[in-house]
Amino acid sequence: MNVLGLRGAYRTISQFHENPRLVAWLSAQPWVIGFTAERRKAVLFFGAIIAGVAGVFSRGARWRDYRALTPWLEHGLAFLFLLGLLFALYLAVIHFKQLPATVRRRPQIWLHLLFWLLLVCLWFFTKRGGFAVAVLALILLSFPYLIWRAGYMLLSGQRGKAFNSRFRDHLFYIWPIWDGTNTPPGKGHDYLSRTQAQTPEAYARAILGGCKLLLLVAIWKICLELLGALIYGDPKSSFSALLHGYAVGLPRLKQILGARMLEIPLLQVWLSLYLELIWETLSLAAKGHVWVGVIRLFGFNIFRNTYKPLLARTIVEFWNRYYYYFKELMMECFFLPTYARHFRQRPRLRVIAAVFAAAFVGNMYYHLLQHKEPLVLGDWNKLWSLLGARLIYCALLAVGIAISMLRQQRQRSQVQASVAGPPNRVFTLRAIAGVWTFFALINFWNVTSHLTIAGRARLFFSLFGF
């Protein structure tokens, strides 16, 4: 078999989810025909109730007050309050035009203000303890998971696309059975409705797309195990025994920061930086493919969360491909509102302000809410130790994206003016290497460590021989 034949065989296998015969066979199966869009949504709706109960009941019992009523009652009440709040938000969405103008203009900000108001109440009463404080703490511990998802519901209302929707059309993505982080894969009602399969054929395509992602999860996990054994010498890796303990023995970035890079050759440190980027990309791809794979099995043919970011030629492209739904969240909640409202007469400043709103302000705020336990406890020292270095990470990310966007805009107008040729291979490789270097370097500020910012800065500059 020649190279072309091999390439064709690889394409046939890797694109099996688009094989017309397979799609036709699957779409003729009775369970695919019978599991209609409406039935799938019904399953997801009941799944949301279960996921909601499980989610709230899994929250820490740190605030459990045994002098009060039974502990389960606190969790139960917290769940009912949150369900009631989501229903109230849903009512606001379907009657969006009747809301006060200030709320209509910035509904998400009002939702976040409600969270902060409840949080301040908790901080104020927290020393009293008791049943009500325990319930409030449980509500606030669950809130960050729901706030961005409920935010998408409010966006649908603001855009006039949800006035005839039902509560079940929203609840399944607010408390999804596929779980995940605070970032909602599949975004909200608008995007999910658009991508929902309505025919057996479309559903078959979505299922096959989901299966492909779940297969990729297995492949990426094997790669991670192999990387763990071969590069890092991880004894827990399944390949350790197979390799008879042989390993290159490079340290992880976290270990490098812990050891303050003492006695670690500079070349190894640089190699570790790049390998950390590869490791994190594979880990994120594996996690994201599980969420998106399950969503596709339920007939929503949504984009992947991670799509070949290591082949990105620009920083913007990498950000778009690395964690797509986080980027979309930042775009919709921070970038676009800033772009729409500020510096409209100054195009470059407009882009810079919007990028900083998303990559710096939004990114920091999202991660502040992610550290829900110290936040609910009002432990600012802990929050600073967790997020201090991230300020630098987000600032560098924002600068990189802003420069990349402005450069891309300029290049586009230049390309339009001249005749575009095919991309040069050397130029492409250089661009990819530049993107890897940028993200590997800023990741230095993203890894958890007990080092102070000044200590981390000293190590960072020592990478360049200072």
Partner: protein
Amino acid sequence: MAERERQRLELIEFLRTIQRPDYPLDGIDEESSLVESGLIDSLALLQIVTYLEQSYHIDFNERGIDPEDLRSVNSILELIARDSAS
């Protein structure tokens, strides 16, 4: 209809100035997603916003930017029609 056709031609003319050079605009139908089809990248959406502000005085400050409105040629034309009707 003539007005819509004029707007469509002007929009396509504008899209030619921001499209990726290696993707033919002619192969894209009016319902196709401009980004998903590969014709433009997500950054170019911002240029569409600027185009709509300058050419049709659409105030995104009031309505906010909904990426769905900028998805395809048809959805952009509908946005222009909705805005001029309101």
